[in-house]
């Protein structure tokens, strides 16, 4: 009984080490391709469009209601204590530093990361990766590096867009639900929110993009088995990305000013 328990724990630890090692190996291979830059520009452009432009509607929707939710939660206390001058600052500070990058990162992982894992996994299963190698094309250089770059750049840019939309959402919901005028919201926001709050969140966004990219590519390219393997890889990639986002958020919140 105890032997089985320790065997299971040992197997899980070994499995975890293998996955972390695989991700680090992939990171190393990506860095080699970037120093100096040697990757496919057409493929990068295609991924920037697919991962970024097509994510705009869902990101805008998520961000708008995220800003709104911040105000809805605060509205009760704003009315109770008459703290209307704090609404703009509260919404801006929370959205820029924490809620914006975190929620958008998780949303991005669900939409883009899972899609990326499924796509790469299917390419493995249908021998497309072998096909590339048979044509002397390095799959890391041709497929992985463009995806990693696209995800970092696009989550960064989408977070800028999401921040703006979330603040607009917060201002509108504040006007309707908490009787905070737009002018009052703007004064509170512009006087108390600093550039450092914005850069703090954007650095987090870039790191989250990197984490989503590495985990989704790793689990995609190491798929084993058929459709079941692809499903399992997508599941693992989303869980690993979510864990990576939460852990790195914790560390970055401490480390960044």
């Amino acid at each position: 009984m105890a032997g089985n328990f320790f065997a299971a724990v040992g197997a899980s630890v070994l499995n975890l080490c293998a996955e972390v090692g695989g991700i680090l190996t992939l990171l190393f291979r990506v860095l080699i391709c970037l120093l100096p830059p040697r990757f496919d520009l057409d493929e990068t452009w295609r991924n920037l469009h697919k991962m970024g432009v097509r994510s705009v509607p869902i990101i805008v929707l998520t961000a708008f209601f995220t800003g709104g939710i911040m105000v809805i939660q605060a509205a009760v206390f704003v009315k109770k204590f008459g703290a209307t001058s704090l609404v703009g600052w509260g919404a801006g500070y929370a959205v820029f530093r924490e809620i914006g990058p975190m929620l958008l990162g998780l949303m991005f992982s669900g939409r883009v990361g899972s899609n990326n894992t499924a796509e790469l996994g299917t390419m493995v299963v249908t021998e497309q990766i072998d096909g590339l190698r048979a044509l002397s094309i390095d799959p890391v250089r041709y497929l992985i590096v463009p995806r990693v770059l696209s995800m970092i750049v696009m989550l960064f840019l989408l977070t800028i867009l999401g921040d703006v939309v979330a603040i607009v959402g917060a201002a509108l919901f504040g006007t309707v639900l908490a009787d905070v005028s737009l002018a009052s919201f703007w004064v509170s926001f512009s006087q108390n929110v600093h550039v450092a709050d914005v850069t703090h969140g954007l650095i987090k966004a870039a790191v989250f993009g990197f984490i989503v990219a590495l985990t989704s590519c790793h689990f995609g390219i190491t798929v084993k088995g058929g459709a079941v393997g692809v499903g399992r890889a997508v599941n693992n990639a989303v869980v690993a990305a979510a864990l990576g986002i939460v852990l790195s958020d914790y560390l970055l919140t401490y480390a960044l000013p």
Binding site: E119, T126, E127, Q128, G131, A134, L135, S136, I137, D138
Partner: protein
Amino acid sequence: MIHCDGLCLQLTHRPVLADVTWHIEAGSVWGIIGPPASGKSVLAKTLCGLFTPRQGRLIVDGVDLPGLPEPDRVRVRRKMGMLFQNNALFDFLRVLENVAFPLARQNPKMPQDELVARAQERLRAVGLSGSEEKWPSELSGGMKKRVGIARATICNAPVLIYDEPTAGLDPVTTSKIYDLLTGLRQKHASTVIAISSDIPALRHFVDHILFLHQGRIRYCGPESGLEACEDPVVYQFVRGQTEGPL
């Protein structure tokens, strides 16, 4: 052209190829047959350098392939064209782009017009004119095979490997594909290795047969000598008998 001496390969701690010794002369046409999971596709991929054998020597056109690091395998792989079992057509490229892809990669400076013309000519040869703008997902099984053949042969590589070129196809399409492969082979005098489970059709196409069972060679010789082989596994497999070691 290709020399394998005592090739051994393991995948996930399981031996897949065991002591494979095989010599392929330039211009010859070989068929690889054997029961499922006997290592046929793995052997084909090993010849392309997609798997590195644990033991043994693999010399392709005078070059020791396993001894080369991955980036240096380019010059050997350029001498080969391969049709994969699942066709391996790139989902993100249209039919014309799929066919032109190897040519564009090998000749980055080739003008776009010439690339398109060469790809269209090859699509015409496989009877797929008019399908240039289709996506792989819009094609039938037979059409995918033919696009895969067009892509494998567009560079006129001296060695062509076809993994299950007629799997899942009806007899008429099978005959058409073998006619096509025969035409291509006669035109370019290439060395051909074909893997197939359709033994009668394959035997019409090849000069020599390699029979693999559990990663080991059970027969290696002229196609005409297969019937006389006394190995019980080969005997049962070739005759399709239910009684025997398989």
